[in-house]
């Protein structure tokens, strides 16, 4: 009789076995994903203190791994908030540990990406990672660590404490990994360019394995307001979240439980809901059976009187910063930006920001250039599946005098506490009707502005051409008629030209 063994696998073991879902599919994707995850952590770390990010990324060649792949050393430095020394080992050596479980808009969501990168580096090169960090105190802490994959625990190989004489604050992560930089290069460079576009207040520096320097300099030091943390909205909860809340709650009756753990639920709403769902206000949440929890979730979704979530937990870029970013990276002749009012889908607040840029250095390529962002992360893969692309393709652009052969770039930024990604790879946004509507309305607004610009420019062009014709032919008519009439000096045409100009100025 065969013996079946059941073993519990750790979180890091799980991700080790399923690294595809976190974006580390192959050596090309892996090197791109590693850079992206660490840069995003660094941006978050600087933004949490509202200081303009200063990020330095260096990828250096270490040696050949196989015919197709090489070993690289990746180093990412930032000027962010730093990690308190006691959290460093867990923060970088334990999967599913991190600061990202409360609800506010952040780039990453699971606290997974950075560690996945280090984990990937470890399994491909068997080298430890080096973490250097300071929160700006008198000391700098340096750890060399590896991850015990089966037990999901950091193994500290070395620990040093240095004096922080210059008051440095930030984090440096350095580790080796296998990858294929040559293949990944176009996406990596595109990633930096687009990141610079939606983070116009950041300085990004990238040195590639060939020693080439790519520098994206900030165009402003103005930063968006950081998002506030918020409680989950009743429409957006699931059974798992309810169970977790019940586990940690200090409250022993349903009324207080609802009032204290949910977004925009006060005394009145809580009482109304309990009446609606037939749950006693004095019931102890910890005594709810599994069936009751499931029912509670359904009732929460059914109840119509919850206030919609507010958007204070969101940190959109804002029209000015978006404009700055687009002007900085695309150098267009014209740009229109628009931020939609906050909206919600399934209890999650979201804000759509769009921009349309025309002319200048934007290439003419027989179709629009589309830049997609979610929570200020560029989305570089699976463009065709993205909701923005569907909206753009469905729009009647001719109404706005826009044709695909024009040099046009379109930027769509969706920010939300929970971006509706279609897949775990987080590369494209699902087609939710609420999201689709907001994107469409935003695009219509900027398209109208572009139309006004195009119409005005056409008018100015026409006017200039008109004046050109007058100032070309009136002098000739004067000259020829003078000769024909046998006069010595031509008649004064200035008065006629002036009248044409005055007449012309009205039209512009």
């Amino acid at each position: 009789m065969a013996q079946v063994t059941f073993e519990e696998i750790s979180a890091s073991d799980f991700f080790y076995r399923n690294r595809d879902i976190a974006g580390f599919t192959n050596p090309t994707r892996a090197i791109f994903a590693a850079i992206r995850e660490l840069v995003e952590n660094s941006l978050d770390a600087a933004e949490s203190l509202k200081i303009p990010p200063e990020i330095y990324v260096r990828l250096s060649f270490e040696g050949e791994a196989s015919k197709e792949t090489q070993i690289y050393k990746l180093r990412v430095e930032d000027n962010g908030c730093g990690v308190p020394p006691r959290h460093i080992p867990s923060a970088f050596g334990q999967v599913l540990f991190g600061s990202k479980y409360k609800l506010k808009q952040q780039r990453g969501t699971f606290g997974l990406g950075g560690k996945m990168a280090i984990l990937y580096g470890q399994i491909t090169t068997h080298q430890p990672a080096t973490i250097i960090s300071s929160t700006g105190t008198s000391h700098i802490y340096m750890y060399r660590l590896m991850i015990d994959i089966q037990r999901n625990r950091p193994i500290i190989l070395d620990r040093k404490v240095l004096l922080n004489k210059e008051g440095w604050r930030g984090t440096i992560v350095e580790f080796s990994l296998e990858g294929d930089y040559l293949r990944a290069m176009p996406k990596i460079l595109e990633y930096f360019k687009q990141t610079a576009m939606v983070n116009p207040y950041a300085n990004l520096t990238f040195v590639d394995p060939k020693g080439r320097l790519y520098k994206f300099t900030r165009a402003t030091t103005v930063m968006p307001d950081p998002p506030k943390e918020t409680l989950p909205h009743p429409y957006g909860v699931d059974v798992e979240l309810l169970q977790r809340l019940i586990q940690v709650t200090p409250y022993n009756n349903m009324l207080e439980f609802l009032k204290n753990h949910f977004h925009r639920v006060g005394e009145v709403t809580a009482r109304k809901f309990l009446e609606f769902s037939g749950i006693s206000p004095s019931k102890n949440p910890k005594k709810l059976s599994h069936e009751e929890i499931v029912r509670l979730m359904h009732m929460l979704k059914k109840f119509k009187e919850f206030l919609p979530p507010d958007a204070s937990c969101l940190s959109p870029l804002g029209e000015e910063l978006l404009r700055t970013g687009v002007l900085k990276e695309l150098k267009p002749e014209f740009v229109a930006v628009h931020q939609r009012k906050p909206a919600t889908y399934a209890g999650h607040p979201f804000i759509v920001e769009v921009a349309i840029a025309y002319g200048g250095e934007i290439p003419q390529k027989g179709g629009f250039l589309i830049y997609r962002f979610a929570n200020r992360i560029p989305l570089l893969y699976d463009e065709a599946s993205d909701v923005s692309v569907k909206v753009i393709n469905d729009m009647n652009w001719r109404r706005y005098k826009v044709t695909p052969d024009m040099p046009i770039a379109i930027v769509v930024h969706v920010c939300s506490t929970k971006v509706p990604y279609k897949t775990v790879g987080k590369e494209f946004i699902a087609d939710r009707p609420e999201v689709r509507r907001e994107i469409a309305n935003g695009l219509r607004e900027v398209a109208r502005q572009l139309q006004r610009f195009l119409t005005r420019r056409e008018h100015v062009d026409r006017e200039r051409k008109r004046l050109g014709i007058f100032s070309k032919y009136l002098p000739r008519i004067a000259e020829f008629s003078t000769k024909l009439a046998g006069r010595d000096k031509p008649p004064d045409i200035e008065k006629l030209l002036r009248s044409v100009r005055r007449f012309g100025a009205e039209g512009v």
Binding site: I469, F470, I477, T482
Partner: protein
């Protein structure tokens, strides 16, 4: 300005008139600008709905509809400048007694940075100038490519530079003398001829000279070489008006030959803005449709295009002047055949001169 009747036989007189008219045109524009107005001009409309047949003149004329070209209008500005340039260019040609072809005009404009889009555009502007001033382009010394000729006892006196006062008898060259700018501007001195015979085709023209038609019939022979150019039509008119010679026209016996005769007699719709190009008393002497029957000429069938042309001509007002035209059109339609002038050769090379010509001259006298 209205089209001018030909007032003087003197070529010099006419040139003075042309120059004054061009100068006056420039002056009018100059003064409008000088007074602070956008210059504008008015001229009769040449659109088809403004072209009428005038039984009195026995030619097409322009109606009362007029068009205005103003330099204030952006769309008129370029053609306006081109028109003034063309007037200046014509003035220089005429006063310096130089001639130019339509093609020359097109290229000359480029020297003045007044480009024409194509030859058609420059031809149109020249026609505009004709319409505004009422003179034809030959008066401005602008000629199309020439190919027609004249032969016979007529002495002319040149007025072109280098030949002023020189005389020439038009029998002096057996191929005939080309009706070009020099001949067009020459004065008539004397002639012993008492009629003009216009011939459509070069072959027959040469045959007539060889057969001494000019002597036997006391005639000046004019080769139209197909549809007669304007200069030739004007020349025939002068022979008719100044020398009082009757004009007989011989063409092929088909709708196209018939129309060559008609344009010499009554002019074309394209030249409705001009006078002095018609010879209303000229006669179409053959080859008629009835001649084809009467002389039993070898024929070709009339094709579809020929028939279509006949139906058009049947309705044309010029063809309603004289019952002869309608009779011949009907005969063509009935026999559905056509014959060339050369068809008479079936009766021998001289038959046309010995038999046909005297009969027809008598018949259409």
């Amino acid at each position: 300005m209205e089209p001018k009747e030909y007032k003087s036989s003197s070529i010099m007189e006419r040139r003075k008139e042309v120059l004054a008219s061009l100068q006056n045109f420039g002056l009018k524009i100059y003064e409008q600008i000088d007074r602070g107005y956008f210059p504008s001009i008015e001229m009769p409309s040449r659109s088809t709905e403004n072209i009428y047949y005038d039984p009195k003149f026995r030619q097409f004329i322009l109606g009362d509809k007029r068009v205005r070209r103003s330099a204030r209008n952006i769309r008129h500005l370029k053609p306006f400048a081109q028109l003034v340039w063309t007037a200046l260019f014509s003035y220089e040609l005429t006063s310096q007694r130089k001639t130019s072809t339509l093609r020359d005009v097109y290229y000359s404009a480029q020297a003045y940075e007044m480009t024409f889009k194509d030859q058609q555009e420059s031809n149109n502007i020249i026609t505009d100038l004709e319409t505004v001033l009422g003179f034809s382009r030959e008066d401005f010394n602008i000629f199309p490519e020439e190919r027609s000729a004249v032969f016979g006892d007529l002495t002319i006196r040149y007025t072109v530079p280098g030949y002023e006062g020189k005389t020439l008898n038009l029998t002096s060259h057996p191929d005939g003398v080309m009706i070009g700018p020099a001949l067009t501007s020459a004065e008539f001195v004397k002639t012993s001829a008492d009629k003009v015979i216009a011939i459509e085709k070069g072959g027959l023209f040469t045959r007539f000279i060889e057969e001494n038609v000019h002597k036997k019939f006391n005639a000046l022979l004019v080769l139209t070489a197909g549809q007669a150019p304007r200069a030739t039509r004007h020349f025939i008119r002068r022979l008719n008006r100044e020398l009082g010679l009757p004009v007989y026209i011989f063409t092929d016996g088909d709708p196209w030959g018939m129309h060559i005769a008609m344009v010499i007699i009554s002019g074309s719709a394209n030249a409705a803005h001009l006078r002095d190009l018609t010879t209303p008393d000229a006669k179409w002497s053959g080859v008629w449709a009835t001649d084809i029957v009467k002389y039993k000429l070898p024929t070709d069938p009339l094709d579809e295009i020929d028939m279509k042309r006949l139906y058009e001509l049947q309705k044309d007002p010029r063809y309603k002047e004289d019952p002869l035209w309608q009779r011949e059109i009907k005969t063509f339609m009935k026999i559905k055949r056509k014959a060339e002038q050369e068809a008479f050769s079936r009766y021998g090379l001289t038959y046309i001169v010995d038999e046909y010509l005297p009969a027809k001259l008598e018949e259409t006298k």
